[in-house]
């Protein structure tokens, strides 16, 4: 996600990160023999020294329905992985490597923690596999795939694909997609309100609808505009916004429901 990249870039450009003193320890550790007990000590120093990084990333994802302590723990786990896998001789600095790694770990946690009812892991994975296959096939076909095309591509039975698609309905829309994007996309999409306005001209419930649309979060409004005023398909919107088609579908359903509720409230 672009967000990840920009954080990494920021860290590369900023000369004073507060972690410079730790960098030489990676070379020291790499130079030691696999079995050298000094490695463990260096590893501990590196993990402890970079803890504020994990806390910082965890903080970015807080207030989104997952307890802060859980996030710190998950981010720390990601940090440990990053320390273990980092190869200083590859030419990148540790932060550019660690930030996406830790964020990836937190993201996975959100993905697993945000199913609104208990869904077996097998189904979650099936659903994720279908999501990935769907994005790939959409690119190739120039349209959304059918269940039979997904089944063929993933070497699954059609019943399994149905099952995986249905599992997506249990997915709570508070997912990482959502946690990540509040401001991420807004610059390119800020113009949509005026356009919606023009397109709604002549709609008889325009007056009660307009404030409801105005109150929608930027991204929901954008998706609504792209689907109903620019007639883009959900798959095209998904590609444009950088989330899955299933997620676009969930957000649209929720947005339309909110608008309907709002209109009803208005009549009373």
């Amino acid at each position: 996600m672009t967000d990840t990249q920009s954080s990494a870039a920021k860290n590369r450009e900023t000369p004073d990160t507060g972690y410079e003193h730790l960098a030489p320890l990676f070379d020291e550790m790499a130079a030691l023999d696999e079995k050298d007990p000094a490695r463990g000590e260096l590893r501990n120093k590196l993990v402890t020294g970079h803890l504020p990084l994990a806390e910082h990333i965890a903080a970015r994802f807080s207030n989104r329905g997952v307890p802060r302590e859980d996030l710190v723990q998950v981010a720390t786990l990601g940090l440990i992985n990053a320390v273990d896998r980092f190869q200083p001789d590859r030419g990148t600095d540790f932060l550019s490597f660690a930030v996406p790694t830790v964020m990836g770990e937190v993201r996975r946690h959100f993905r697993d923690a945000s199913w609104s009812m208990h869904v077996p892991r097998r189904l979650k994975e099936l659903n994720l596999a279908i999501n990935a296959a769907s994005a790939e096939l959409s690119q190739r076909l120039g349209r959304a795939p059918t269940p039979s095309e997904l089944a063929k591509h993933l070497d699954l039975s059609q019943e399994q694909v149905y099952e995986g698609l249905e599992a997506g309905n249990a997915y709570h829309s508070m997912s990482l997609d959502e946690a990540l994007s509040p401001d991420a996309d807004s610059d390119s999409l800020g113009e949509t309100l005026g356009e919606t306005d023009a397109a709604l001209d002549g709609v008889e419930d325009y007056e009660s609808l307009r404030p409801l649309i105005e109150r929608l979060p930027e991204r929901e409004r954008t998706i609504l505009t792209l689907r109903f005023f620019r007639h883009m398909t959900q798959t095209q919107i998904a590609e444009r916004i950088g989330i899955s088609q299933m997620h676009v579908s969930r957000l649209l359903a929720r947005t339309l429901e909110q608008l309907r509720e709002g209109m009803l409230g208005d009549e009373d």
Binding site: A144, E149, V203, D205, L209
Partner: protein
Amino acid sequence: MSVGDGDGSPDEIELRLGAELTNLPIIRSLTSSIAMRADFDLDAIADLKLAVDEACSTLITRAAPDAALRCMFTVSKDEIRFVVSIRSTDDSTPSSDTFGWRVLTTLTDHASSWVEPVNGQHQVHIEVAKRRADGTAA
């Protein structure tokens, strides 16, 4: 599965349930199941679900007390047709100048509505049809 008319055509699925918004997930999940099994593409499946949601919500708000929502799906080679109707005290057809109607026409290939008198009240219908996308074989 057709229970209404007794002429159990293999392509027809009928659902009759209380006109409550809380029943929408049932209709939604049936819609999804029908469209998946007809091997519509994921966009068409999602669009049909949203359209069925919209059509049913519109009628539920016009329901006479204790009226049942009657949903009928007809699956053919090229399209899925959905007709929903409700008994209402209101004899006006749902307006085609609302945002809700625009939602229906954007999401489907056909949308229409009509009202017929039934025992001093009115049966309000909405029909939508979603065609199979080009390139997806039946």
